[in-house]
């Protein structure tokens, strides 16, 4: 059983085609990258997986559960870190996490909530109101909210956009530990060096279509831009994937 099974998903908003027949399989335990320029359809695809939007056609399954027909089990298996920095200004960090856990029916979840807070360096802010937190701290809470029910599949939609180096490091350490413990991770990011160092497989989207799908290693090997010998690309991983990304986007119509 795949962690995520996306088959021929189409989604339009009026004349705008956001997803144009996307098909993907993400296996359990993978660290999977979903890359693409702005407007490629990444967030629409994530929203479709999370049930925040309904595709016009096609099916999506999370751990074998259809996100429309069996939405409760599908959502129980999925944790999503949204791209926008949103929060509820009425509550403290601990209250936010406790309520979020409760929405999943987990009312005695304090040990795990404490562990998430410790890993994301939120323990000393547990009783602080969400309004009083810095942007980076709010981002940490967003990540924590997605993890309160310990979902087997975790989707991170640009989780490091605009955050400092310290959070990025602690976040990736924690996410890597979750991946090592068997969690499937799907990551979208514009920081291609992060994708290259973390993701075992990558899909690239452009204008709602998958234009590349392979292991990170194969993508780097197959799509070296012409005229650039491997020795020039070998040491600097960031340059590698960035060059490959630019080439694939330019080649795909």
């Amino acid at each position: 059983m795949s962690a995520l099974s996306i088959r021929a998903v189409k989604k339009s908003y009026g004349d705008l085609v956001a997803l144009d027949g996307v098909s993907l399989e993400v296996e359990q335990g993978e660290f999977f990258g979903l890359l693409g320029p702005n407007g490629a359809g990444k967030t629409t695809l994530i929203s479709s997986m999370a049930g925040l939007c309904t595709p016009n056609s096609g099916t999506i399954e999370v751990m074998g559960h259809d996100v429309q027909k069996d939405f409760r089990m599908a959502r129980r298996q999925l944790g999503v870190v949204p791209q926008e920095l949103v929060f509820d200004p009425f509550f403290t960090v601990r209250e936010t996490l406790t309520f979020q856990s409760g929405y999943f029916g987990l009312n005695k979840n304090d040990d795990w909530i404490d562990e998430i807070m410790a890993n994301l360096d939120l323990t000393n802010k547990a009783n602080a109101n969400m309004r009083s937190l810095s942007g980076g701290m709010k981002r940490r809470v967003l990540v924590a909210q997605a993890l309160v029910h310990r979902p087997p599949v975790i989707i991170l939609d640009e989780p490091t956009a605009g955050v400092d180096v310290e959070l990025r490091q602690s976040l990736w350490q924690f996410i890597s530990r979750l991946n090592q413990a068997g969690h499937t991770i799907v990551l979208t990011t514009h920081y291609l060096e992060e994708a290259e160092s973390l993701c075992g497989r990558i899909a690239m989207l452009k204008q709602g279509r998958v234009v590349a799908l392979d292991t990170t290693q194969n993508l780097l090997a197959k799509h070296r831009p012409p005229g650039m010998p491997p020795k020039l690309l070998g040491d600097d991983g960031a340059a590698d994937l960035e060059a490959v990304f630019v080439k694939i986007m330019a080649e795909s119509k």
């Binding site: 939405f71 089990m73 949103v86 009425f90 509550f91 309520f99 929405y103 999943f104 029916g105 413990a181």
Partner: protein, 268 residues
């Protein structure tokens, strides 16, 4: 160096099951209004007391209604009006705030059914409406003699009225895209409908045309049935009022549940 505790592997975790998120959402909604209780509970109580002081004084010499002084007649109406307006305000303001700030996504990502969503929001709205109503009653009871002829009707109409307005607030909160639209529904529909429902007068004191119009206002039946519980007397039979209220509740609940199930203006 701090020892990092290994995480329990995913396949060793207990199998995921669906447990209700209703109580968490209900607690969150109650906690939300309680954390700003001055604004959500104390302020409407003060407003109702001011109505009583002003209208009670100005109309003190009015003829007795159901054999009681005007202030006695007015108090149950003010209590019910407060219940209705605050139940509506709770669901509508919570939803529009969550929609506009974007934090509704945390509820939409959870495996809550549309029934749990509806029940949690409406129950919390009932708690707020009834809290304000109880507060208004406790403050105003000292100003006039209030009988309790048929208390069961008081509870029935308070519960059903707050549930109906909580459901209407849910619909308004889902429908409205901005605060302005919500304020319009509150100020141009809910406020006039409650104020013109017989809170401040018996509809039998109205001229024929307006008496007829009042019978098309569902808020009139809520106020009138609620008042029956105090005086044992009302403009129409409490059974008639209850029937109207149940029909309204069925229609509004069906509409709210349909909107939630479809994800109208919530999921795209």
């Amino acid at each position: 160096m701090e020892q990092v505790k290994p995480l329990i592997p995913v396949n060793a975790l207990p199998e995921a099951s669906i447990q209700s998120g209703f109580f968490a959402l209900f607690r969150k909604e109650v906690r939300r209004f309680y954390s700003v209780a001055f604004q959500t509970v104390a302020a409407p109580i003060l407003t109702a007391v001011l109505y009583l002081l002003i209208f009670g004084h100005v109309l003190a010499s009015s003829p007795k209604i159901y054999g009681y002084e005007y202030a006695s007649f007015l108090i149950p109406g003010l209590v019910m009006m407060s219940i209705l307006q605050n139940a509506f305000a709770n669901t509508s303001s919570s939803l529009i705030q969550s929609k506009i700030t974007g934090n509704l996504v945390f509820i939409l990502l959870a495996p809550l059914s549309h029934i749990e969503f509806f029940a949690a929001y409406v129950s919390a709205a009932m708690i707020r409406g009834l809290s304000v109503g109880f507060g208004v009653f406790m403050v105003t009871i000292w100003f006039a003699k209030i009988p309790f002829a048929a208390p069961i009707w008081i509870f029935i109409f308070a519960l059903l009225g707050s549930a109906l307005l909580g459901s209407m607030g849910l619909i308004a909160g889902i429908w409205a895209d901005k605060f302005d639209q919500l304020a319009a529904s509150q100020n141009f529909i809910i406020m006039p409908a409650t104020m013109l429902s017989g809170v401040f007068y018996s509809i039998h004191s109205l001229p024929g045309f307006w008496l007829t119009v009042s019978h098309f206002n569902p808020f009139f039946y809520m106020i009138d049935g609620f008042r029956y519980g105090f005086f044992g007397d009302s403009d129409v039979s409490p059974y008639h009022s209850l029937l109207v209220l149940l029909i309204c509740m069925s229609l509004v609940s069906w509409l709210a549940l349909s909107m939630l199930k479809k994800g109208y203006k919530l999921r795209h």
